[in-house]
C-alpha cells in the first residue's frame, strides 16, 4: 500500500447543500483517497489554498444551487497563478439556472478548465472509477 492520494472536496460559492458533500466524502474515503473536505460555502481561494497546503492531486467542486457559472469562473486561472496548473479539476451538480441541454452545460464548464463535468444525480460510484483512473490510482487496491 503506497501513500494515499489527497483530494480537496467542497461546495463552492454561497451554496449550503451539505448532504451530498457528506456522502461524497464518505465514498471517496471508502475508495482509499485522503479527503480534505472544506465543506459548504467554500470560496475559490479556499479550494486552491487547501490544494496547495495538502499537496492535493485533484479539486472536486460541487454546486447544487444554480450559481455555479458565476462561482466557478476563474478557478482554473487561480490554480495556475498559484503554481498548480496541472491539478485535476472535477465539477458536478445542478450547474446552471434553468433546464438546459447537458452538452451545453458540459461545454461551458470544460471551457472553464474542468477535466470532468457531472450532471445532477450522478452517484459516487459512477464518478470515482474515472477519478481513480485520472489520478493513476489502481482502484481500491489494499485500501480497506
Amino acid at each position: 500500500m503506497g501513500h494515499q492520494v489527497t483530494v480537496v472536496l467542497g461546495v463552492i460559492g454561497a451554496d449550503v447543500h451539505a448532504v451530498g458533500n457528506r456522502i461524497l466524502a464518505y465514498a471517496l474515503e471508502q475508495a482509499g483517497l485522503k479527503v480534505i473536505n472544506i465543506g459548504v460555502l467554500a470560496s475559490q481561494e479556499e479550494f486552491v489554498n487547501a490544494a496547495i497546503e495538502t499537496g492535493a492531486k485533484a479539486i472536486l467542486v460541487s454546486s447544487l444551487y444554480g450559481h455555479g457559472e458565476l462561482d466557478c469562473r476563474g478557478l482554473r486561472e487561480k490554480a495556475t497563478e498559484a503554481g498548480i496548473s496541472d491539478i485535476l479539476m472535477y465539477v458536478g451538480g445542478n450547474l446552471v439556472v434553468g433546464k438546459r441541454e447537458w452538452h451545453e452545460v458540459e461545454e461551458i464548464y470544460r471551457k472553464m478548465g474542468f477535466d470532468q463535468v457531472y450532471p445532477p444525480g450522478t452517484m459516487p460510484e459512477e464518478a470515482i472509477p474515472q477519478l481513480l483512473k485520472d489520478l493513476g490510482v489502481d482502484g481500491v487496491g489494499g485500501m480497506h
Binding site: V16, N94, V97
Partner: protein
C-alpha cells in the same frame, strides 16, 4: 451593530427605542435602505385589497377547511419575475405566490447580487437562483406585488434578514419566511445561534410593529430544516420554539411548517401534533391571541429525474397534505432533480397538486391505533426537547435554545452548520417512517429510545443487515431511485 445594547440573549420583547436605534444602522446596509419610510409603508399596506393579504387568505382557508397551494419561484430581474408569477397564478392556479430570494442576498452579499443582475441582463437569462430584492429596492417590490392578484410571500434562507425584511415588507409583501434557528442551521456554516436569534428578533419586532399599527404580516418558520430525514419531533420542536420567540416580539400570525418524510401515518401525526402542541405552548406562555396555521412541504430531499416519477412524488405529497389538513402545501416541480424549474414545469407541479387536493378534500383518514400511537410518540419527544431547552435557559427560551444546541439536546441531521452538534443519525424503519439510529445527546426517555431501536431492528431483520451509515445513504437516495425505503442493492 452586533447587539451592543442587548448583552445577553433573552426572550423578551425589544424596547421600541432600542429597536429604532438599530433600525437606523440596518437601513444603511445598502443604498436602497434609504427608501424605507415606515409610516408610508403602513399606509400602503392599509390600502391593499383583502384578497392580497396573506393572513386573510390563510384565515379563510382555515375556516373553510381547504388546503391552499403555493410554489417556490424567483428570478433575477423584475419584469421576468412578474412574468413568472403571473404565469404561476394564471396557468398554474397558485392560491399563494412566493418570491424566492437568491443565495447571494441570503448571505448579505449585495455586490455579488448586483453582478448577477447585470450578467442576467447581458445574457438574457437569469444567472441568479432568485430575486435580489434588496438590490432592486422598494419600488421594484411593489411593482411585483401589484402585478398579481394573490398574496405574495418572501421565501429565502437568510440568517441576517433585517434589511431584506425592511425593504420587502415596506415593498408590500404580506408574509415573510424564516427564523433564527431554521434559517441558520440549514443555511450557514458558522453563524452563532445567539447572533441569528437576535437578528430574527429584529425581524419579528418589525413585524410586531406593523401588527401594533394594524398591519398583520404572516410569519413562517422554515419547517423542513435540512430536508433530509429530519425526525418530526426535531422539526416540530424547532418550529414551536421559533413561533414562541416570534410571538414574544409581537407577531400575531404564524404558519408552522413540516417537511414530508414519506410515511403517511407519521406525516399526518406530525402535522397534527405540531398544531396541537403549538397551541398548547402559545397559551402556556400567554400568546393565545396568535393565529396559527400549518404548512406542509412536499418531499424536500432528492427527486427522481424522470418527470413522470417526479409527479408521483409530488402527488404523494399532495395526498398527505390534504389528509393532514394542512392550511397550505408548498408544491415541488417535475424539474426538482435537475435544478431550478421552468415556469411551465413549476405550474404543472401546482396543477398536479391541486387535482389531488380537490379529489380528496371531502375525505379524511380514520382515527386508528397506529395514528394515535404516532401522535403520542411525537408529542412526547417534542415536549422533551422543548422542556430541556427551557430548563437549560432557566426559563428563558432564547437563551435555552442557544444552550440546547451547545449541549446537543437540540440537533439537526445533515446540517452544514457547526452550531449543530451533528451527533444524531436518522434512518427509516421498515415502513418508511423516520426513526433515530443514534440519539446523540437528545434528552429522550429510555422507552422512546427502545421504541426507535425496535423499529429499526425490525428493518434490519427484514434486510438481513446491521443498521448503519450505508442504510442511511440508501435512504437518502431511495426516492430519487424510485423507492421510499432504501433496501439493499444486490
Amino acid at each position: 451593530m452586533k447587539g451592543c445594547f442587548l448583552v445577553h440573549l433573552r426572550n423578551m420583547k425589544w424596547d421600541l427605542d432600542e429597536f429604532s436605534a438599530m433600525r437606523k444602522e440596518v437601513l444603511l446596509g445598502w443604498p436602497t435602505g434609504a427608501e424605507v419610510e415606515i409610516q408610508e409603508a403602513l399606509g400602503y399596506h392599509k390600502n391593499m385589497p383583502e384578497t392580497k393579504i396573506f393572513s386573510d387568505r390563510l384565515a379563510k382557508a382555515e375556516e373553510s377547511g381547504v388546503t391552499l397551494t403555493q410554489p417556490r419561484a424567483g428570478v433575477a430581474l423584475v419584469t421576468e419575475l412578474i412574468e413568472l408569477l403571473r404565469y404561476l397564478q394564471d396557468v398554474g392556479g397558485a392560491d399563494l405566490l412566493p418570491t424566492t430570494i437568491d443565495s447571494y442576498t441570503r448571505l448579505n452579499r449585495y455586490k455579488e447580487a448586483q453582478t448577477g443582475i447585470e450578467e442576467s441582463r447581458t445574457h438574457g437569462r437569469s444567472m441568479l437562483n432568485g430575486f435580489p430584492a434588496v438590490n432592486h429596492g422598494l419600488a421594484a417590490c411593489r411593482r411585483v406585488v401589484e402585478a398579481v392578484d394573490v398574496p405574495v410571500q418572501v421565501r429565502h434562507g437568510t440568517p441576517d434578514a433585517r434589511l431584506l425584511a425592511e425593504i420587502t415588507l415596506a415593498g408590500g409583501f404580506t408574509a415573510f419566511e424564516g427564523g433564527g434557528i431554521s434559517y441558520n442551521i440549514p443555511y450557514c456554516k458558522d453563524v452563532s445561534i445567539s447572533r441569528s436569534i437576535r437578528d430574527w428578533q429584529y425581524v419579528d419586532r418589525l413585524v410586531g410593529f406593523y401588527a401594533e399599527n394594524g398591519v398583520i404580516i404572516n410569519r413562517e418558520p422554515f419547517g423542513p430544516l435540512t430536508g433530509t430525514l429530519v425526525p418530526p419531533s426535531i422539526s416540530n420542536a424547532i418550529a414551536i420554539i421559533e413561533g414562541l420567540l416570534a410571538a414574544e416580539q409581537g407577531v400575531r400570525n404564524i404558519s408552522l411548517g413540516y417537511g414530508q418524510c414519506g410515511n403517511l401515518i407519521q406525516d399526518i401525526a406530525a402535522l397534527r401534533s405540531l398544531k396541537e402542541l403549538a397551541k398548547e405552548y402559545n397559551i402556556r406562555f400567554g400568546y393565545g391571541n396568535v393565529a396559527i396555521t400549518t404548512v406542509f412541504h412536499q418531499w424536500m430531499g432528492g427527486f427522481p429525474q424522470d418527470e413522470s416519477k417526479a409527479y408521483g412524488v409530488i402527488s404523494w405529497g399532495a395526498v398527505t397534505a390534504v389528509l393532514a389538513k394542512a392550511t397550505k402545501v408548498i408544491a415541488k416541480t417535475p424539474h426538482e432533480a435537475v435544478g431550478i424549474p421552468t415556469k411551465e414545469a413549476n405550474a404543472s407541479g401546482i396543477l398536479t397538486t391541486r387535482q389531488i387536493l380537490n379529489m380528496l378534500r371531502d375525505q379524511s383518514l380514520p382515527e386508528t391505533k397506529e395514528l394515535n400511537e404516532e401522535i403520542a410518540i411525537i408529542k412526547k419527544e417534542t415536549r422533551a426537547l422543548i422542556e430541556k431547552a427551557l430548563e437549560l435557559g432557566e426559563g428563558d427560551l432564547a437563551l435555552g435554545t442557544e444552550r440546547a444546541f451547545q449541549a446537543g439536546t437540540l440537533d439537526v441531521p445533515f446540517a452544514p452548520s457547526r452550531v449543530s452538534a451533528g451527533k444524531i443519525m436518522p434512518v427509516r424503519d421498515n415502513y418508511g417512517a423516520v426513526r433515530l439510529l443514534d440519539f446523540g445527546n437528545l434528552p429522550m426517555e429510555p422507552d422512546i429510545k427502545d421504541y426507535h431501536r425496535e423499529k429499526i431492528a425490525e428493518r434490519g431483520r427484514r434486510e438481513q443487515r446491521e443498521p448503519g451509515f450505508q442504510m442511511v445513504i440508501d435512504d437518502i437516495y431511495a426516492i430519487s431511485k424510485g423507492m421510499l425505503v432504501g433496501r439493499p442493492r444486490h
